[in-house]
Symmetry: C2
Subunit: 135 residues, 2 copies
DNA sequence: GGAGAATAGTTCGCCAGCGAATGTTTCGTC
DNA sequence: GACGAAACATTCGCTGGCGAACTATTCTCC
């Protein structure tokens, strides 16, 4: 049911528009914010977000232009670059988190808690199996 | 869990590559093939596929170039255009259907039939609720 | 019955992402 | 220690899709 997925995506995007952010920007910030260090390399992010390296460079470009993120050339290994969340980026991320959590909650509210748990479990099993099946 | 969705999408695309087709092409053909008349207007298709009118025009262009589809200007209402599946398009669609069904089956095989039914039901309820919530 | 609103499709300029090729830096091995 | 292989990020050209403006046709209603 990818129609559902599209709807969900659209609903989430609509929610994010409230804080003036696009979905892909939020996803990237979210990955960064979920790390203790508040930073990661482009490759790591690209892997987690299932994005090509080229695409990742582009995303970081726009985020950096918006001052939500900073590029820091690594000293030990000068091929590497660390992408760090700025204060502004962190603020915007938390704002978006709230809006988004609200939207998500409203959507799954049609299912009672037990059902939500069942759904969650089934989806997780599918995900792990599919992931292992394709490396 | 949009990660799951992305994986599923990727897996399906990989499957379709076997018959040399892209996902969006298949989706469009599928909508056409699911109709008795084997044809539909661009607007109808755009609505079903959640695509902008502009995007739909582009898709039809490429499909028409590949001779999978034909544009037929309507006689009664000359603003309208009917998109009709060609024989070649229909053949390719059925070939893709088989490949795709196989891939889909393999993915949900980790769940036993009862679980599949539960998952299906939950997802459908989510979809209808989300759809009604946003017109 | 003619003017303006509505409808259907297309064109145009733009954007995010992809794959392939490129430039640097580091690693492995002889 | 030097040279080729590998790792990282970036640039380049291309593609699918979007929104807004445009064209052509039909509907509405005074």
């Amino acid at each position: 049911m990818q129609l559902l997925v599209k709807h969900v995506r659209l609903a989430k995007e609509a929610a994010l528009a409230e804080v003036g952010m696009q979905d892909f920007e939020f996803e990237t910030l979210h990955r960064l914010a979920s790390r203790d260090s508040r930073q990661a390399t482009p490759s790591e992010l690209a892997g987690e977000l299932m994005l090509s390296p080229a695409g990742m460079t582009g995303r970081i470009d726009t985020l950096e232009k918006a001052r939500l993120v900073r590029r820091i050339r690594s000293e030990e290994d000068r091929r590497r670059v660390d992408v760090a969340l700025t204060d502004k980026g962190h603020e915007l991320w938390s704002a978006a988190m709230q809006v988004r959590a609200r939207a998500e909650k409203a959507m799954v509210a049609v299912l009672d808690p037990d059902e939500q748990e069942v759904l969650d479990g089934l989806l997780k099993r599918l995900l792990t199996s599919v992931e292992s099946a394709r490396g």
